[in-house]
């Protein structure tokens, strides 16, 4: 198993109120899965993604990635993991507004300390992969939303991470662009055997995933695998609550 989560709880204290964004999540994710995370707003999807991407530590519980518990790793080790193992794609693209598309992709390679020429070359290759080779020297404001998200995807992919973590990557896009982005992700995913964990409100996007995970008030309400060869899944039912993964 790539991920092994046991009793992961994340609490936020805000104005003397104790909010459990995640409340005892047990979850396993195998390498190469395409997991769609769904749930109503505030159910803890973003928080879960942050736990999986080593952006934060759980209040309690263990987040084992490849055998190492992210909850107790040193900050330096977490930094190294973030820079090599995970690639994030955000709903709001989160590009650096002052940097060009190519430079934005390069920021992902900066922690690797590689030569600037090699960095530029790899960034260019990644941009070409998402179909933006001719936009390399444009700054984000000169790009459409879909193009910006492509740059962000190139930034996540450029270092060939083991896991792509996408938090509503199509949330800010119109329908057509959304389909393009999903197709792109699928294409890239299919070609590389990367693990994709994607938060989405869109059941059509979620329908393409190999597994759908439902969150409710910080707990996993259901987890269902798509039948082999099918992209359409039935909505989760109550008896599937806490289902054990059958694949991996």
């Amino acid at each position: 198993m790539l991920y092994e989560l046991t009793g992961v709880t994340k609490r936020y204290v805000q104005a003397h109120k104790n909010v459990a964004a995640l409340d005892g999540v047990d979850l396993s994710i195998a390498e190469g899965e395409f997991v769609a995370v769904q749930g109503s707003t505030g159910s803890g999807k973003t928080t879960l993604l942050q736990m999986l991407g080593a952006l934060d530590r759980p209040t309690s519980g263990a987040v084992c990635f490849d055998g190492a518990d992210l909850a107790v790793l040193s900050e330096a080790r977490l930094c190294a993991l973030r820079s090599r193992a995970f690639g994030f794609v955000f709903q709001a693209f989160n590009l650096i507004p002052t940097l060009t598309a190519r430079e934005n992709v390069e920021t992902a390679l900066v922690p690797h300390g590689m030569h600037s020429a090699e960095r530029a070359e790899r960034a260019h290759a990644a941009l070409a992969e998402v179909g933006l080779a001719d936009r390399a020297s444009h700054v984000p404001v000169e790009l459409s939303g879909g193009e910006q998200q492509r740059v962000a995807i190139a930034r996540a992919l450029v270092r060939a991470p083991r896991v792509i973590l996408a938090d509503e990557p199509t949330g800010n896009l119109d329908e057509r662009t959304r389909d393009e982005i999903v197709a792109l992700l699928e294409e890239l995913w299919g070609g590389r055997d990367q693990t994709i964990i994607m938060v989405t409100h869109d059941s059509r996007v979620a329908g393409r995933a190999s597994r759908r995970l439902w969150l409710e008030a910080g707990t996993v309400a259901s987890s269902r695998y798509a039948p082999e060869g099918s992209n359409e899944l039935a909505p989760a039912t109550a008896d599937e609550l806490g289902a054990v993964p059958a694949r991996g």
């Binding site: 942050q50 934060d56 973030r82 002052t98 430079e103 900066v110």
Partner: protein
């Protein structure tokens, strides 16, 4: 990447960056200008002290005259006989400077022998008064000839001074000047040490009793004296061998000490002792020793004198020392505070950006150094800008060249001047005859040294680093998750 990112950020936020740099520049400019001006004031004060005091002299020793023994001038102006009434007269009187007691010059030798004393020389300051005119006619037998209005002592009851409303028809001319007796053997200290010879020469060591005189430039001009001329002092002809210039005009004319003693009739007596210490640190100890050796002496050090300097120079130096420094520091603090606030606000708008970079695996260190890198550029710009502004500001001070007056002691009050131990520290026997002014005018010149400029740039940089460090720390402190959640 580092430089690209720094450059792009600065270019995008150029207005804010300019504002930060400008704020720092103003702060730096103020600090540099104030310290350059304070340096100028200090230089001016040193100039004044040196001119009043003598460059080589560390301490002067005087003794206050006993009350009532102040040697009032006695002219013997009574016509004497009725026949002399209405006839011309001319009188000279040379006396030791009022308020200063005479001491035997053996004391000079004993002070010279004290520990910590490098050299000690005696000096004799005299005032010479010359009066000429006609004796008053006593009208109608009543001897009212100027009996009023004279400050002179009882020995000369019918002294007439000009402007006293006396019945004398003829005007009386009064001229007075001050004389300093100079020890020709050592002129590095004493009254001539502060003067520079403009024409002619100073005394040679052999001229210890010669009838030669060095004349102060101002006095020489007034009396059309040049080197080679002769002038009369107390009826004796003296050859002018040199013209000297000193800001204070310590005396109008300088004579060899023994000559001065002779014409004043004060053999082997001095009323000023100039002392040079072996080192500046010795001065306080030497002052104590001298007080023990010459009881009742007024021992004045350069510091005492500096404390007595009043007038606009003293105010300026106080201002520069106290207010100016604080003002400059306050300005710099304000500039750094503004820079910090602007940097912080800039950084807080970029929290999500930094969260994104952290999610990409950037170390906090790298993010802090990114913010610092931007700050360094603004700091260098601010420092350089401040240096340029400061040079301009000090140039302006130079162009305006404000004059500053320094007064030692309260002018016109002879005792206070005498106690201050100044050469020629008397304003004359009567206020009307005040011949020596202790007010010196100097012009303020502020100059910026390369060291000061380097310090300016360093200051700007330091200010920016404080601002950037704070901002960077604020930015890097958050966990990536928290930073990403930040909505701005």
């Amino acid at each position: 990447m580092f430089l690209t990112y720094v450059y792009r950020e600065l270019r995008r936020r150029h207005r804010q960056a300019l504002l930060i740099a400008l704020g720092l520049a103003l702060g730096v400019c103020l600090v540099v200008t104030v310290s350059a001006t304070a340096g100028g004031v200090r230089d001016a004060q040193n100039d004044v002290l040196h001119s009043l005091y003598g460059v080589g002299t560390d301490i002067t020793v005087t003794q206050s005259a006993q009350r009532g023994s102040g040697d009032p001038q006695q002219f013997g102006m009574n016509p004497g006989s009725a026949q002399k009434q209405g006839q011309r007269f001319s009188r000279d009187a040379v006396t030791s400077t009022m308020g200063l007691a005479l001491v035997a010059d053996k004391k000079v030798t004993s002070i010279a022998g004290l520990r910590g004393v490098n050299a000690a020389v005696g000096g004799l300051t005299l005032s010479s008064m010359h009066m000429s005119g006609k004796f008053a006619k006593i009208v109608g037998g009543s001897s009212s000839a100027g009996g009023s209005g004279s400050g002179s002592a009882a020995a000369a009851p019918s002294t007439t001074t000009s402007g006293s409303g006396a019945p004398s028809q003829a005007p009386i001319k009064i001229s007075s000047f001050t004389i300093a007796g100079v020890d020709v053997a050592d002129q590095t200290i004493g009254p001539l040490s502060s003067a520079t010879i403009t024409t002619g020469r100073t005394f040679t060591a052999k001229e210890d009793n010669a009838a030669v005189v060095v004349v102060d430039a101002g006095y020489a001009k007034q009396n059309s004296l040049v080197v080679g001329d002769t002038m009369k002092i107390a009826g004796v002809s003296f050859k002018v061998v040199g013209v000297s210039k000193s800001a204070s005009g310590a005396a109008n004319v300088y004579l060899p000490l023994r000559r001065a003693q002779t014409i004043a009739g004060e053999k082997d007596k001095v009323n000023q002792i100039y002392v040079k210490a072996t080192s500046a640190t010795q001065i306080a100890a030497v002052k104590k020793e001298i007080k023990a050796t010459v009881p009742g002496a007024t021992v004045t050090t350069a510091q005492d004198l500096a404390d007595q300097v009043s007038g606009s120079l003293a105010s300026a130096s106080k201002l520069a020392d106290q207010l100016g420094t604080w003002l400059a520091i306050a300005a710099l603090i304000a500039a750094v505070a503004v820079a910090s606030l602007l940097t912080l606000s800039g950084v807080s708008r970029r929290v999500r950006e930094f969260g994104t970079l952290k999610a990409l695996g950037w170390r906090s260190r790298r993010i802090v150094s990114q913010v610092l890198g931007e700050a360094v550029v603004m700091g260098i710009a601010g420092g350089l800008g401040g240096a340029v502004l400061a040079v301009a500001a000090t140039r302006l001070v130079g162009v305006l060249s404000p004059s500053l007056q320094a007064t030692v002691g309260s002018s016109g009050v002879s005792t206070s001047a005498a106690q201050s131990g100044l050469p020629g520290g008397s304003s004359g026997p009567a206020g009307a005859l005040s011949s020596l002014s202790h007010t010196v005018t100097v012009y303020l010149h502020a100059s910026v040294s390369p060291g000061l400029l380097a310090a300016a740039i360093a200051l700007g940089l330091a200010g920016a680093l404080v601002a950037g460090g704070l901002g960077g720390w604020r930015a890097a402190r958050l966990s990536p998750a928290d930073a990403l959640r930040r909505v701005d």
